[in-house]
């Protein structure tokens, strides 16, 4: 075969070093894969909320693994124990590794103490997706919401995470907001830790 380098073959995946991995993955490959994922799930469910739940579960599995891997690789084995710590971890480190840039903004909700929002002008997963009119409130960002939920829940901060379209004046396409609502016990623990 042309150009075969001498790559060391490992008998078992456990022997292979973790390493930095590939920094970049083809966007088109991901877009095709994601569209297949959505289409497959569409055939399996009866309504929109079930579809969103399935995408969220798929993202949850990713989030659980991303948390462990990134804490080991990028943060030198230090865990996050505070709310703001884990939120900025998601907002910068996780976003940078998954989408190549930090999220546009991280805001604290004004109405409720336990709500936080991560906003993005255009989610990478939505770039090649258009929602038909009769699927009104459906948002493929449910996958990303699932990733965030996976990271938060496995780190010990259970939360309800959802993705919403927020119309912005002066722009044709609405902005995407990931809304994070933390559980009671997270706030109680935060208050206790002072």
């Amino acid at each position: 075969m042309i150009g075969t380098g001498k790559i060391k073959q490992y008998a078992n995946v456990l022997d292979k070093p973790l390493g930095k991995g590939k920094q970049e993955v083809s966007l088109s490959a991901f877009a095709f894969l994601f569209s297949e994922l959505v289409q497959y799930n569409q055939t399996q469910v009866d309504n929109i909320s079930e579809l969103e739940t399935r995408l969220e579960d798929a993202g949850y599995a990713v989030g659980a693994r991303v948390l462990e891997l990134l804490c080991h690789r990028d943060k030198g084995n230090r865990r996050e124990t505070r709310l703001l710590g884990i939120l900025s971890f998601v907002h910068s480190t996780v976003w940078k590794v998954l989408f190549g840039k930090v999220a546009d903004s991280l805001e604290k909700g004004t109405e409720h103490e336990d709500e936080y929002m991560i906003s993005e002008k255009e989610l990478l997963v939505n770039r090649f997706i258009s929602i038909p009119k009769d699927m009104g409130t459906f948002h493929c960002g449910a996958f990303v919401a699932g990733i965030v939920k996976g990271v938060l829940e496995n780190a010990g901060f259970p939360a309800v995470v959802t993705a919403h379209f927020v119309p912005v004046e002066g722009q044709q396409r609405p902005r995407t907001t990931i809304l994070i609502k933390f559980a009671e016990k997270v706030l109680r623990r935060e208050a206790r830790l002072g």
Binding site: N12, V13, L14, K16, L18, A61, A64, R65, L67, E68, L69, L70, C71, H72, N77, R78, R79, E80, T81, G85, N154, A155, G156, R189, L193
Partner: protein, 135 residues
């Protein structure tokens, strides 16, 4: 040098997903159960301690007769617990770090359900080899 050591990996939901007697001393049936009991009893202490520090290695957190319980908590709150009688803290820390890498590789398998038992025999072999090396 004979040493008793019992190693357990406990998931986020307090379910043991891997256990191994890794000491070089002769194994007794009742001792194994006693070791596991002591480790489970130490879980409460770990839970409180885990939120006070951002380090992963929690050193020795509990004692039982002359045995010491050392714990290492990962980012996903999976606890590696070791019941041992040695005083070699650096060796234990290196052991935990190497097992952590192995655990991450197992976790990255998309077909592995996080929180389920680790059944890979290769993983078992490697953990025992690491235990002989560091403990």
């Amino acid at each position: 040098m004979t040493s008793t050591a019992c190693f357990i990996i406990v998931s986020r939901n307090d379910i043991p997903i891997y256990e191994a007697e890794v000491g070089s001393a002769a194994k007794r049936e009742d001792a194994a159960q006693l070791h596991q009991f002591v480790l489970h009893a130490a879980l409460d202490i770990v839970q409180d301690l885990a939120w006070t520090t951002s380090a992963m290695f929690l050193k020795a957190i509990d004692r039982f007769n002359d045995l010491v319980v050392s714990v290492y908590v990962t980012a996903g709150h999976t606890r590696f617990m070791l019941l041992h009688d040695s005083r070699n803290e650096d060796g234990i820390k290196s052991f935990f770090q190497e097992v952590h890498e192995l655990y991450i590789k197992i976790l990255l398998n998309p077909l592995y359900l996080p929180g389920s038992r680790i059944t890979s025999s290769h993983f078992d072999t490697k953990v025992r080899a690491l235990a002989r090396k560091y403990l």
